[in-house]
Amino acid sequence: MHELSVVESLLTVALENGEKAQATRILKIYVVVGDLSGVVDESVDFYFKFLSEKTIAAGASIIFMHKPTRLRCRACNAVFSPEGLNFHCPHCKEQQVDIIGGRELYVDRLEVE
């Protein structure tokens, strides 16, 4: 839901790193997105097209690498991905969990020339 701010920051990260490496064009941006981050691919693409105009990232494609929500059961230590809104541990049925994955939101790598 907050893709405009996300894309502004994503573009800054990509441009700073691209320019540091003296790239003349950024071709691909690989982004890791956790399912809990609330980021929608289509909206990112939409804003990116406008914001990247007249930069070395214009025309670049964004490759989304999704990470599922991962929970660790505090009762039995099992690690699992919840189904929908059911946060109960599939092993011991308790619902005492730490969120250990799914919040990721980072630029993993760039393909440049």
Partner: protein, 223 residues
């Protein structure tokens, strides 16, 4: 020209996180307690803040930062009480970010402030992603929203220090099961405190006020 791969592994929100840290340093310098209040639209954030203003009179010098999508209705209500209020209009954005808070802090007299309440934009998803530099995260959920919300918004519930369940005066009319709710919250966030309150009638608010008082004492004690 040859294609190169650059490994980056840089958090997209790291710039915001850096600004949030610097906000924290600014308020720490003045021994101010800064609290970020989040909720859905219409859960009663402004009513809670109005009650807290009354409580704080003579106890703590309060300032309020109001995040709103477009209007200044909430900030006007706070200003009428003689409390410094900074309105941030996000112009459609769904959350406050650290840079907006920095600007608000710049226009407050921090030497004359003990407590800053931030009323974030009504939204339980985006506001969880953007650190502001606040010491405490407080979220407000109202009875009509239902007791099933913790697993819908796990980031928000797992990161809150206090969860206020507002509008308990209408509990008899809704299927909100407080014990199911508390159990789900403690499953996600064992340290999170749940206070059932009514910002309208004042019921239960003493728990919120004493928590706030304790947090303020700890802050002015230098901890």
């Amino acid at each position: 020209m040859s294609v190169k791969v650059l490994t980056i592994k840089e958090d997209i929100l790291s710039a915001n996180d850096g600004k949030a840290r610097s906000n924290r340093e600014s308020v720490d310098k003045h021994a101010i307690l800064m609290v970020n209040i989040t909720s859905s639209p219409g859960s009663g954030k402004t009513s809670l803040i109005m009650q807290t203003i009354n409580w704080a009179r003579g106890k703590a010098r309060l300032a309020v930062i109001e995040g709103d999508i477009a209007s200044s209705i909430d900030a006007d209500k706070v200003s009428e009480q003689g409390i410094p209020a900074i309105q941030i209009n996000t112009e459609g954005a769904c959350h406050l970010d650290a840079n907006m808070i920095k600007k608000a802090l710049d226009s407050l007299d921090l030497d004359q402030t003990d407590l800053i309440l931030i009323e974030n934009v009504g939204n339980l998803i985006c506001t969880a992603e953007f650190a502001l530099g606040a010491h405490k995260q407080v979220m407000l959920l109202s009875v009509p929203e239902g007791d099933d919300k913790p697993c819908k918004y796990p980031l928000m519930f797992s990161g809150a220090d206090v969860i206020l369940v507002n509008k308990i005066d209408v509990l008899p009319y809704f299927d909100f099961d407080m014990s199911t709710f508390s159990r789900t919250v403690s499953g996600l966030n064992p340290a999170g405190l749940v206070f059932p309150v009514s910002a309208k009638t004042g019921e239960g608010l003493e728990q919120w006020f004493s928590w706030l008082e304790e947090a303020l004492d700890r802050k002015s004690g230098g901890a």
